[in-house]
């Protein structure tokens, strides 16, 4: 090999890391860092809806949304909308995540058994998560349809109910429908992550525990759980932060209705920014959502993260 060729080759080798990492970093800077900075920037401006003029307003957007400055009917000084929407978000996320977690754990434990046809079950179980959320949301809206939906059909045609239920006319029932759709969509994700985690548990430990006379519960607590903990943490974290940002299901199923009874942060943000055309306040809500997300991750990792094993 000629020395000229060698030195060219060395030069190219030295460029390997810059050329493989650089473009991605530039891309990320342009498509993530810049918009995020712009978000912070936008959140302190107010845009006149008529002439599009921008005016610097400091933290007024935040104050208006959260404290409803000077408005009446505040709850502990907080804006009533902020309080009720936060509550809806909490209920929606809390119920969906906890129920789908319990369900997902149960199914994962069943799928971890040495069953014939396990692969088929796994495939069948995963599919809902891969479908477009919009399609899933509309599908459930159809399922819960007050006249022609399958659920009302089953309940009335089997004689269980004499009259049909208008699910989307009642705040609680609408929220229930949303939660069911959410569980339907996201449980597969929990199953996948936990099933992968279960594969890390050494088989011998189960045998050892059985020899030690440990019962099923004790085996789960002492053998399965410690190995599953990192997966649980990941599944819960991703599940929660994806749920508080999720707009698709809410928007196609209820649009936050009836009234504002299923309005959550994501739909509020979208409505504020796009429907009401108040980009400053939409950005302010985005900042809040961003902060809450990072807070949740930090708390979850603090609670679960420092494990003794």
């Amino acid at each position: 090999m000629s020395t000229e060729k060698q030195s060219l080759r060395r030069k190219l080798d030295r460029l390997f890391v810059p050329l493989t990492v650089g473009p991605t970093m530039l891309w990320i800077a342009g498509i993530i860092v810049y918009p995020t900075l712009k978000l912070l920037w936008s959140s302190v401006f107010w845009t006149n809806p008529i002439d599009g003029q921008k005016e610097f307003v400091g933290l007024r957007n935040f104050e208006r949304l959260i404290f409803a400055e000077g408005g009446s009917g505040t709850v502990f000084g907080l804006a009533p909308d902020f309080v009720s929407i936060t509550w809806h978000t909490f209920v929606y996320v809390g119920l969906s995540v906890s129920i789908s977690f319990a369900l997902g754990l149960g199914i994962a434990l069943l799928l971890d058994k040495d069953l014939k046809g396990r692969g088929w079950f796994r495939t069948a179980v995963i599919v809902p998560w891969i479908l477009p959320y919009v399609m899933s949301g509309l599908m459930w809206r159809w399922m819960f349809n007050s006249e022609y939906g399958a659920i009302n059909g089953i309940l009335t045609q089997s004689g269980l109910l004499s009259s049909k239920i208008a699910f989307f006319s009642d705040g609680t029932l609408a929220m229930m429908a949303l939660v069911i759709a959410d569980i339907w969509v996201f449980t597969p994700f929990i199953i996948i992550i936990l099933l992968a985690g279960l594969q890390n548990v050494p088989e011998q430990l189960y045998d050892a525990a059985e020899v030690d006379g440990a019962g099923k519960v004790s085996r789960f607590v002492n053998v399965t759980y410690p190995f599953l903990k990192p997966s649980i943490l990941v599944a819960l974290t991703i599940r929660i932060i994806f749920d508080i940002r999720a707009l698709d299901l809410v928007w196609v199923m209820t649009q936050g209705g009836p009234g504002k009874s299923t309005e959550v942060w994501a739909s509020w943000l979208y409505r504020t920014a796009q429907v009401f055309n108040r980009p400053g306040e939409g950005a302010a809500l985005g900042v809040v959502l961003l902060a809450v997300t990072f807070l949740i991750v930090a708390v979850l990792y603090r609670v679960f993260g420092e494990s003794p094993y």
Partner: protein, 306 residues
């Protein structure tokens, strides 16, 4: 009676329930597991079945009472009509272009960058990697305001392109925002599982870094690349929020938007919506049925090693 019994016997044998007769509790446990899994699968597939039969009912039969749970007069007319009455071929094309371009960009950048993160301890390696993990946590919806304004009036390239609002380019650029960090992360974890001695052997065999990467590492990374590609494609194909914010006509609208357009204020065209929904769901169902292991491995690589 006897035939029935033998059929049952065959079923039990097929499920492996007859093997360890003395372990009756094992058999019972398996039966319970099958029953529970079967019930679960039935319940979660029922809505898919219901929307499917809705899509193949004659348009008028969708609103029949009592509801028919069997497709009595199956027809493809709903599918045909959505292509005739609405530009579904354009929506499908938009979805295909946006999802595949996003996938190509993310997989290409994700693979090379993931490899460098896995192998080279360059300055800022840890910080940059951490920022990529952090970027994955940013809720996309939080950024609809800046993305809307950036795409309407793009900086730097604005003079050349004008507004990117209602273009596929806007969607592609936006979708890389949540898919690229994910792709880098999956590929980095994938390469972490490829022994470094293979890189070293390649160096000894006379490969430069580039040659070693292209000739040795890349061919081995196919499963990881496939997993990343499938997930990026599905995420982009299914995306709704930014499509809602950044598009307004069939020149860029994708299938999820097209399906949602069947919902009018006071009326939903369920029969055609169901047909459109099935088309939008098709890639997901196919990927799920045939490439399940890639989806699982991609998600696991991407999530568990956090």
């Amino acid at each position: 009676m006897s035939t029935k019994q033998s059929t049952l016997g065959q079923l039990i044998a097929a499920l492996g329930l007859d093997t360890e007769n003395e372990w009756s509790h094992v058999v019972r446990e398996r039966l319970v597991a099958y029953a529970l899994l079967g019930l679960y699968v039935f319940v979660i597939w029922f809505p898919i079945y219901f929307i499917f039969i809705t899509s193949i009912k004659p348009t008028s039969a969708v609103l029949d009472i009592p509801i028919s749970f069997l497709p009595t007069q199956p027809t493809v007319s709903n599918y045909v009509e959505i292509f005739q009455n609405r530009p579904f071929e354009l929506y499908t094309l938009n979805s295909l272009i946006v999802a595949s371009t996003t996938t190509v960009i993310c997989v290409t950048l994700g693979t090379v960058t993931g490899y460098s993160f896995s192998r080279y301890d360059f300055v800022g390696n840890k910080t940059l990697l951490l920022s990529i993990v952090g970027a994955r946590m940013i809720p996309p919806i939080a950024l609809i305001v800046p993305f809307f304004s950036i795409m309407s009036n793009p900086p730097l390239i604005g003079g050349l392109t004008g507004s990117l609002y209602d273009t596929r380019i806007a969607l592609i650029l936006t979708y890389t925002f949540f898919n690229l960090p994910f792709a880098v992360w999956i590929m980095k974890n994938y390469f972490d599982g490829v022994p470094e001695s293979l890189d070293e052997q390649a160096r000894i065999d006379g490969c430069s870094r580039w040659e070693g990467f292209v000739k040795i590492i890349l061919p081995m990374a196919k499963p990881g690349i496939a997993a990343t590609a499938i997930l990026a494609f599905i995420f982009s194909w299914n995306e709704f929020v930014f499509a809602l914010v950044l598009t307004s006509s069939e020149q860029a609208q994708t299938l999820p938007i097209a399906v949602s357009l069947f919902v009018a204020d006071d009326f939903v065209d369920w029969a055609h919506l169901a047909a459109g929904g099935m088309i939008a769901a098709l890639p997901g169902i196919l990927f799920g049925l045939f490439f399940q292991q890639y989806i699982v491995s991609g998600l696991t690589q991407g999530a568990v090693k956090e």
